[in-house]
Symmetry: C2
Subunit: 224 residues, 2 copies
């Protein structure tokens, strides 16, 4: 039996590392895809490379997509400050259409390598109000993929897996720890320094710290 | 009354130039978006800039998206020859998930500039078997946009307009000519030279030439 192929979106953060570990544990041959879209926290990409290797990805690619130049988010626009506490509604760290662009690139690579599965580490629990982290978004993208691609037209629809979507950060960390993820390698901070060390103050840092606390596990994060 | 804003995907080819002319004629304030995805025919992008200006786009942006590095198409991979005649099924000039990626980037910009409309020049008549040029694909993307974005979540869905989808190449050329498109500025050839001059032999050149013939108009294309 040939291994099923999966493209796994790998940002270098905690969630996507766990997602790759889950996909590997389920037996997929994994094509890890990182997208540089102008994010401030590009230390994530160095982390992604180490994680892909540590978790046994078959291949790791980094591709560029110039979302940053379109603006509109604290994560890509130096003029917009990264907030240090949770705000109401959709926060300024939301990158317009980011997950749509990331999944579109994953879809492109899945066509090239003949993968019928895409894994993405979106999460609707700690999702901070991002519209493109909800189950309705994942379902809609799966519907799109069925009509967008050569494989879809030829009757081999693509499945989008979002294994973390209903998990708390604590559950994600417990799962990944059982599967051998070294979270010291991952970078979650919205404003990590060039060595991948976290600020310890932004919303992403707070969520991550609470996650380790909830999981009852020591926090291996490297702080500035 | 404020003008409605629209992001218009503008490749620099005949179809997208006509689409921009239609959007302007319908009264939209147009944000023209060109995507450099590693296509061989990058003379199109120079053409796009001239066309955006000639047709009165409010702004023109070029963004990169590294589809070419993912391979899988004669349009981005120098190892795959551009065919000179129509083949059965989906041809090798199909770029995996191209229109999904282009629309995803248009969606991102539409969020940033608060546009509720996206125009794309896809065409299902002369569509050469590309899956992502069909009405089902456009409908699925519109469904996706409704759940993917801040505006969608806040009850202001985005509309995807594909005004050329049912038109023949001849009808497209007649329409654009009436709206003042200067087709000498547009580049359709899959392997245009660096001056934007067409090969005259590829499938795209053949479709274009037949279009002018069907429209009963002189072909202003600059050939090599």
């Amino acid at each position: 039996m040939t291994e099923s192929r999966a493209v796994v979106l790998l940002s270098g953060g905690l969630d996507s590392a766990t997602t790759l570990a889950i996909a590997r544990n389920e037996g997929y041959l994994c094509y890890a895809l990182s997208v540089f879209y102008g994010q401030r926290h590009d230390a994530e990409l160095d982390a992604a490379d180490k994680i892909a290797s540590a978790l046994g990805a078959h291949e790791h690619r980094v591709v560029g997509a110039d979302l940053g130049s379109l603006g509109g988010s604290a994560l890509t626009d130096p003029e917009i400050a990264v907030p240090e506490q949770r705000t109401e509604g959709i926060p300024v760290t939301y990158v317009p259409a980011r997950n749509t662009v990331l999944l579109a690139l994953a879809l492109a690579w899945s066509e090239v390598v003949h993968a019928s599965h895409i894994f993405v580490g979106v999460n609707a629990v700690d999702y901070s109000g991002y519209p493109d982290c909800r189950p309705a978004f994942i379902d809609a993208f799966e519907q799109l993929a069925a009509v967008a691609t050569r494989a879809g037209v030829e009757g081999m629809p693509l499945r989008i897996h979002a294994p973390l979507i209903d998990m708390t950060k604590g559950q994600i960390i417990k799962t990944g720890t059982q599967l051998g993820v070294d979270y010291a390698q991952t970078v979650s901070c919205y404003q990590a320094d060039s060595h991948g060390r976290a600020c310890g103050r932004c919303e992403s840092c707070a969520l991550r710290r609470n996650g380790f606390s909830d999981a009852g596990l020591p926090d291996p994060t490297r702080y500035q």
